[in-house]
């Protein structure tokens, strides 16, 4: 394919630095606003950008609609995970979690509502927080990351109630089981552990693989849980702790979400893959980033016109998929 010759724009020091930053940007996390019209994306420089999905998806969308409405410096380190409640945006990165009001966030120069740091044991290096999980029944937030523990924080009081220990290496991801108050966590140690929130104890352990990681877990609906990473993407049957389907993809799968009860689209390399339950690949759509790290599905009932899948990863762009057959366009930092 012919490569277009780029325009020669005189680049001063500031422009060169900005261009370099964008080239080396990684977007780790995304979160959709409660109204469903906005998407927040957090990158490795600690910035959070808010994109207006409704503007970008509307018929009069111009190039400016694909740029963030507002960008602000949220953390000193990378923003590894974000999650939204019905009024707040919670972001977590290097060791602390911060909360922002969605209403305030859209205005420039907003300040965080509060920030909290879970009690860490070591002080030599501040561990990162890789995953945030909301437990709506308890109105609490579960954080997990570099110190190999799951911390539970009460959202009303802000106190840390529990610390669940059991992983031997740092935790990548969390998932909540719908029927019973159980939390799954996948870690670098290659194991997926189930925890009972009421008893605060580990209930089950699934050794996915001895070595590699499971990148993320799909939000578990009934029995199956999907584990990515490792040598392959696998669908597990939880009760019996056996794999039901192994999807034939090369490692590593970075992110997986469930979509309409079908096995989820997963990001691998630069493609978003859609699977059948039987293990066949239904569709594979290339994205614009060389490696995808975060997939987000906008299923907010308040904004059905913004029901899209957004994918982000090793670049400054967020791909928007209106249907899973092709990539509609990309938002960009």
């Amino acid at each position: 394919m012919e490569r277009a010759v780029p325009l020669a724009v005189p680049l001063g020091q500031a422009e060169v630095f900005q261009a370099l930053q964008r080239l080396h940007m990684t977007i780790f996390s995304q979160s959709v606003s409660p109204c469903g019209k906005f998407l927040a994306a957090g990158n490795n420089y600690g910035q959070i950008a808010i994109f207006s999905l409704s503007a970008a998806l509307s018929s009069e969308a111009k190039e400016e609609s694909k740029k963030p409405v507002v960008t602000f410096q949220a953390h000193d380190g990378p923003v590894y995970s974000m999650v939204s409640t019905d009024r707040h945006l919670l972001s977590a990165g290097d060791g602390e979690v911060k909360a922002w009001l969605w209403v305030e966030v859209l205005k420039k120069g907003c300040k965080e509502l509060w920030h909290r740091q879970p009690p860490y044991r070591t002080s030599l290096e501040v561990p990162e927080i890789n995953a945030l999980l909301l437990v709506p029944k308890e109105n609490s937030l579960i954080l997990a990351g570099g110190d190999c523990q799951l911390h539970t924080m009460d959202l009303e009081t802000g106190t840390f109630t529990r610390a669940l220990r059991g992983h031997t290496d740092y935790i990548h991801c969390l998932a909540l089981r719908e029927r019973s108050p159980e939390v799954l966590s996948g870690g670098e140690d290659g194991a997926v552990r189930l925890w009972d929130l009421r008893t605060a104890k580990e209930v089950q352990t699934i050794e996915v693989y001895k070595h590699e990681v499971s990148e993320t877990l799909g939000p578990v609906r009934c029995r199956p849980a999907v584990c990515g990473g490792g040598p392959a993407l696998t669908l597990w049957h939880l009760r019996s702790s056996t794999p039901t389907t192994i999807f034939p993809m090369r490692a590593p799968q970075k992110h997986v979400t469930f979509y309409q009860d079908l096995p989820p689209p997963s990001g691998q390399g630069c493609c978003v893959n859609q699977w059948q339950l039987s293990g066949e690949l239904k569709a594979q759509v290339p994205g614009s980033s060389p490696g995808l790290l975060s997939l987000s599905l906008n299923q907010q009932p308040a904004a059905p016109e913004c029901k899209v899948l957004t994918a982000a990863g090793n670049s400054c762009r967020v791909d928007v998929f209106t249907n899973l057959g092709y990539r509609a366009f990309s938002l960009s930092f």
Partner: protein, 673 residues
């Protein structure tokens, strides 16, 4: 022939006939005519005709009756009719005579009338002539009326009484005019005298002036000799007035932009920066020749035209040669140029020569760097100090290959010049900052008819430009030195930058070469840099190779001319257990980020000439960390190729499982950002 005898006539018919009293002896019927009454003659005629008719009728009668005795009566009547015939003849004669007389009289009268008429005409003609003469005389303007005489009051006031003769002239206008004319004549004579006097005065004064001029001109060489004599004193006191004076003399012949440049630079050099020295080079005579008066050139032209006509008949110069000449004419430089010498701290000097292209109204510059000691140029540093590229992109985007004056494009089209780029080696580079220093401002939106050199524009840009030039030369020289070392495989890290790196660095730089711009664009791991537009053709490109054991790390480096304020950009490709680039390995991406994005830590002390070498050293350290923290593959037999020697708190962190690339000083361990 018998003359008519005077004889008596008898008139047988009744009627008184009176004969005129005759004086002479002959009979004149003419005289008789006068006496007779024409009316009575007419009656006689009628009577005679009647008688004749009667007689004829009687004769007829008688003849018709016939008879012998009739003959006598006929005879009688015949005789009577003969007499009547004779009367008729006489009457006829008389009528004729009367007619003739009448005619003669008429003729006479006519002649008289004609004569009178002629007289009348003559007289009329004379009258007319006289009238004309009179009018002429009346219209005659005497010259004296054309003379503007002074007004009457003035005349009476000024004229001496013997001329004005008031008593006489007041009454008599003729005398008055005469007097006035006299006065006029008098005055004119006086004025003529005055004029002659003044002329002679003027001559005198002119002569005096000549004398004085000669005196002054004899003074000039004496002054010169005094100046010469004072030169050693000037030098002794470090006040080179003479030199400066000469400079200013030559500066008068500079074209306006060069003049602005010269003035501003000298002012700046004297006021702020002693390391800048300005001089003017070139031929003043040629500069003067540019402004030759047109008459001379016209003569030349006519001569040359005649010559040309001759030559064209013999041989026409080819179209290409003609076009070439036109191009040369368009790109002609002004014979004078301004030279800058900028001395930098380490005794290296940047020589800049500024030229002015007259027809294009732009300025160009040629640069040269000389160092105190002879430089051995390493192979990769060929372009660093080359005159063509040493000043490239002093300001972002100012590559100096295109003419900054938008009006030049139309001029170029006429002579078939595509772009100035082909001629810059010869003419010098038309950088935008050069135009600004010459006070020339070409607004992009509307091309102006004439752009004039503006002092304030030059003054506002002088200081920044000089500083940038010095920084540029020094950074290039620093790079020069560093390249010499890099080509030998040694990364020269200065002592004040040692703290950025751990004590032990195992990976080594084995190769450092320049690569061409096209080669850089062809590399498979540099595509994202090219797409963003950071790899233009004004940059310099290098390839470094870092090795440790079996691992080979290729680094493609983009060196922006604005180094070191604009950092070099690295793209990596690691060959070890497969090929890893930023598209398939996140850690390679993180290494690039460490070197490219976090460059500010690596700048070192100002003026941050150590940036490139520090970046290369960091690259070696990063490779060490990468190789040592790579998890061991159990399927392969044997120990790890690179045992972990670096102190790391954690090997992996974050959802993308990054390696610890950040070096912490002075504790000496590696952590994540």
């Amino acid at each position: 022939m018998h003359h008519l005898k005077p004889q008596k006539t008898f008139t047988p018919y009744p009627g008184p006939l009176s004969l005129p009293p005759q004086e002479g002896k002959y009979y004149s019927e003419e005289a008789e005519v006068d006496l007779r009454d024409p009316g009575r003659d007419y009656e006689l005629y009628k009577y005679t005709c009647q008688e004749l008719q009667r007689l004829m009728a009687e004769i007829q009668d008688l003849k018709s009756r016939g008879g012998k005795d009739m003959a006598i009566e006929i005879e009688e009547r015949r005789i009577q009719s003969c007499v009547h015939f004779m009367t008729l003849k006489k009457l006829n004669r008389l009528a004729h005579i009367r007619l003739k007389k009448g005619r003669d009289q008429t003729h006479e009268a006519k002649q008289k009338v004609d004569a009178y008429h002629l007289q009348l005409q003559n007289l009329l003609y004379e009258v007319m002539h006289l009238q004309k003469e009179i009018t002429k005389c009346l219209e005659f303007k005497s010259k004296h009326e054309e003379i503007d005489l002074v007004s009457l009051e003035e005349f009476y006031n000024e004229a001496p009484p013997d001329i004005s003769k008031a008593e006489v002239t007041m009454g008599d206008p003729h005398q008055q005019t005469l007097a006035r004319l006299d006065w006029e004549l008098e005055q004119r004579k006086r004025l003529a005298d005055k004029y002659r006097e003044c002329l002679s005065n003027k001559e005198k004064i002119l002569k005096e002036i000549e004398v004085k001029k000669e005196y002054l001109s004899s003074l000039q060489p004496r002054l010169n000799s005094i100046m010469q004599a004072s030169l050693p004193v000037q030098e002794y006191l470090f006040m080179p007035f003479d030199q400066a004076h000469k400079q200013y003399e030559t500066a008068r012949h500079l074209p306006p932009p060069l003049y602005v440049l010269f003035v501003q630079a000298t002012a700046y050099g004297q006021a702020c920066d002693k390391t800048l020295s300005v001089a003017i080079e070139g031929s003043v005579d040629e500069a003067k020749a540019l402004f030759k008066p047109p008459e001379d050139s016209q003569d030349d032209e006519s001569d040359s035209d005649a010559e040309e006509e001759q030559t064209t008949k013999r041989r026409r110069p080819t179209l290409g040669v003609q076009l070439d000449d036109k191009r040369k004419e368009m790109l002609k430089r002004h014979p004078l140029s301004v030279m800058f010498d900028l001395k930098c701290k380490d005794d290296s000097v940047l020589h800049l020569t500024f030229y002015y292209l007259m027809n294009l109204n732009i300025m160009t510059v040629k640069a040269k760097v000389t160092t105190a000691t002879e430089l051995i140029t390493p192979i990769s540093a060929g372009d660093l100090l080359s005159p063509d590229s040493v000043l490239s992109c002093l300001f972002p985007g100012d590559h100096g290959k295109k003419t900054p004056n938008p009006a030049n494009q139309y001029q170029f089209d006429k002579v078939g010049i595509l772009t100035l780029r082909d001629y810059v080696l010869d003419l010098g580079h038309p950088y935008l900052w050069v135009q600004k220093l010459g006070g020339l401002h070409f607004p992009k939106e509307q091309p102006q008819h004439t752009v004039i050199a503006d002092h304030s524009l030059s003054a506002s840009h002088m200081e920044t430009t000089m500083k940038l030039l010095k920084t540029r030369v020094q950074s290039r020289l620093a790079l020069h030195k560093q390249f010499a070392s890099l080509e030998h495989g040694i990364v020269p890290v200065t002592s004040d930058c040692q703290y950025l790196f751990p004590a032990k660095v195992v990976s080594r730089l084995v190769k450092w070469v320049t690569i061409a711009h096209e080669d850089y664009m062809e590399l498979h791991f540099t595509k994202d840099i090219v797409e963003v537009g950071l790899a233009g053709d004004t940059n310099l490109y290098y390839m470094a190779l870092v090795e440790r054991g079996t691992a080979k790390l290729q680094a493609a480096v983009v060196l922006n001319p604005g180094y070191s304020s604009i950092p070099p950009i690295f793209r990596l490709c690691l060959n070890w257990k497969g090929e890893k680039t930023n598209s398939n390995d996140d850690n390679i991406r993180a290494m690039e980020s460490e070197v490219n994005v976090c460059y500010k830590e690596l700048c070192g002390p100002r003026p941050s000439h150590q940036l490139l070498t520090n970046q290369l050293q960091r690259l070696c350290v990063l490779l060490d960390v990468y190789l040592e923290t790579e998890s061991h593959d159990d399927s392969v037999e044997g120990p790890k190729e690179f045992p972990q020697e670096k102190m790391c708190l954690r090997l992996f962190r974050g959802p993308s499982r990054m390696k610890p690339f950040k070096y912490n000083h002075p504790q000496g361990f590696f952590s994540h950002r």
